[in-house]
């Protein structure tokens, strides 16, 4: 018997949302800013750093420790309703003294609005910022990718581990500017590591707990894994 799934409420733009229009003749700097930027400034005076409008897109710089609260406000407030997280990413500049930036792109489908939130993380200390996973479940993989590629740690993320690179990857964080284009290790070293890898370690220890899979491994493999060998892919 086929059970049809529950009919869900349709989500879409509000009737009084601004009419959509292809942007034209956008100025490089300046121009109308997203009204949410002023409301963030009013609501979070200590967290607000500055707001820029570049090519018609509003960027709000926020102190890293307050990003979670600002995004929570943008998500929950009925005047904002930024219910869609487009992207979480990082930017590192070629000038190594400039701080690393974490960027959130948020969309309000209800009000047809787009805003960019940025937090600047100073180099030299632990790069970390609070995870927005409790607000947007879609942030899960995006934040894992930022951690994988830039080494930014998202506190409160439920499962922060590498996603595109494998978990035993030792060469660092590939999208950092100090990472050479061809990688840190030589071809010979990469080959040596690939040959030395334990084929059973493709499953993480957590996965090996499923259905006692660990107990079914050959005893020498079990011994290697119990000896602290790293697992996961």
């Amino acid at each position: 018997m086929i059970e049809p799934a529950a009919v869900s409420q349709t989500v879409g733009p509000a009737p009084n949302a601004p009419a959509p229009k292809t942007p034209r003749n956008i100025p490089h700097r300046g121009g109308p800013a997203n009204a949410s930027a002023a409301r963030i400034k009013e609501k979070f005076p200590s967290a607000f750093v500055r707001a820029d409008v570049v090519w018609g897109e509003t960027t709000v710089f926020v102190r890293p420790e307050a990003v979670f609260d600002v995004i929570q406000y943008l998500h929950d407030d009925p005047n904002e309703q930024y219910a869609y997280l487009s992207d979480v990413t990082c930017v590192e500049y070629r000038d190594l003294e400039q701080p690393l930036e974490v960027v959130w792109h948020l969309r309000s489908i209800t009000w047809r609005a787009f805003i960019r939130i940025k937090a600047q993380l100073a180099k030299g200390a632990r790069l970390s910022v609070k995870s927005v996973w409790p607000i947007y479940k879609g942030a899960d993989w995006l934040e894992r990718e930022c951690y994988d590629m830039f080494g930014v740690e998202f506190d409160g993320h439920p499962d922060l581990r590498r996603i595109l690179m494998w978990e035993q990857y030792k060469e660092g964080f590939p999208l950092r500017k100090d990472f050479p284009l061809r990688g840190r290790f030589s071809r010979a070293e990469q080959l040596r590591q690939a040959l030395a890898a334990n084929p059973e370690a493709r499953y993480s220890m957590e996965e090996l707990q499923i259905a006692d899979a660990f107990e079914d491994l050959p005893s020498d493999m079990r011994k290697r894994l119990l000896g602290g060998e790293e697992t996961g892919e």
């Binding site: 959509p20 956008i26 960027t59 489908i109 947007y136 259905a211």
Partner: protein, 436 residues
Amino acid sequence: MATKRTVDVALSTTGLDSQGRPQRVPLVTDESGNVTTMEAPPALEPELEGEHMLINLGPQHPATHGVLRLVLELDGETVVRCIPHVGYLHCGFEKMGEYRQYNQIIPWTDREDYLNSPGNNVAFALGAERLFGIECTERCKVLRVIAMEMSRIISHLVWLGTTCIDIGAFTPFLWSFQERENIYNLLEGWCGARLTTSLTRVGGMIADVPDGWVEGLKGFLQTFPKTIAEVDRMVTRNGIWVGRTIGIGAMSATEALNYGLSGPMARASGVAYDVRKDFPYLDYETYDFDVPVGTTGDVYDRFLVRMEELRQSVRILEQAVARLPDGPVNIDDPRIILPSKTKATTEMESMIHHFKVVMEGPRPPIGESYVAVESPKGEKGYYMVSDGTSKPVRWRIRPPSFLNLSAIPKMVEGHLLSDVIAINASIDIVMGEIDR
């Protein structure tokens, strides 16, 4: 009153007799007339309920549409937990982009979502043009709309064919790939390439469409709806198809929004979000087309949404062909656009421009831009940051399949192992885009 009888066919064969024939099972009817076996057949397999199993699906498996690996915990045949692993196709496009000029990045965009190359080329060009502060010509805009909708048709056709194969229908695959071939022939006539088109340049296109090309597209637009109608007649009300797809992998609208789904995945769940309608580009607000929105968000709704999008793409293409204006396709700016070959070899100034554009590359002012378009998979965005040099500081692809796939543990939970294949097919993943 139960009446005992023996039937001639073996309805539930418990084994073979000594002559090798199927053993007959005596059947009885109960009070309400239902036929049942008299006694339960001896259990051939141990009872598996409650016993968990670890199943590894992929990365080398034709039904995972690329190199996707799913580690599944099963209870009998029901999925308890799904742990996806991606990254097998990671090529570092974003890292390589930081060492390339803007026009040199366009070939990378072909190769990430390789079913949607023209669409990616257009999306990248739009992002780069915003960063440069230029706007393409009117003819170029309409040509780009044509390219984007053609690539939407290609991508949806591949999705349709492969999903039909995954669920057990072979014929729609052949029909859809036949039509896809027609579009590839058109693309070949336009730019010389079929799959990796590199169709755009910053500020224009690689080429104008050749003479007679538009007539070819018009011919395609006349025959293509017939193919959609054939597939529709074959599949949409097919009992097997409906049984395999309805109620499978459903996501509600709020869940879809929260998980970052976009494109047909979100619209099937009832999120009326289409970048072409809500954040338009290339004057999409002046085209007359509808955005299909589903109700339940199961695999069947996603199928219906994509089928309707094929028809709407035909509508957009018809309007675009009708309004295609004359004029240049490239903007008139020698700092960005290469001069023609004749000019570059005969005029001194053009030769200098040619040299500067090729060797140094066009330089955008300091700034950043995020331009999203509606790719066949969803919201495809290119985020570029420039520090004033001819190479971007950061080039970020916002991959729609990546977010759509990240919801798969939620979607497959509680479904059967065979439904995992249907759900995975309905996401329409392209691993080139997920792993980048």
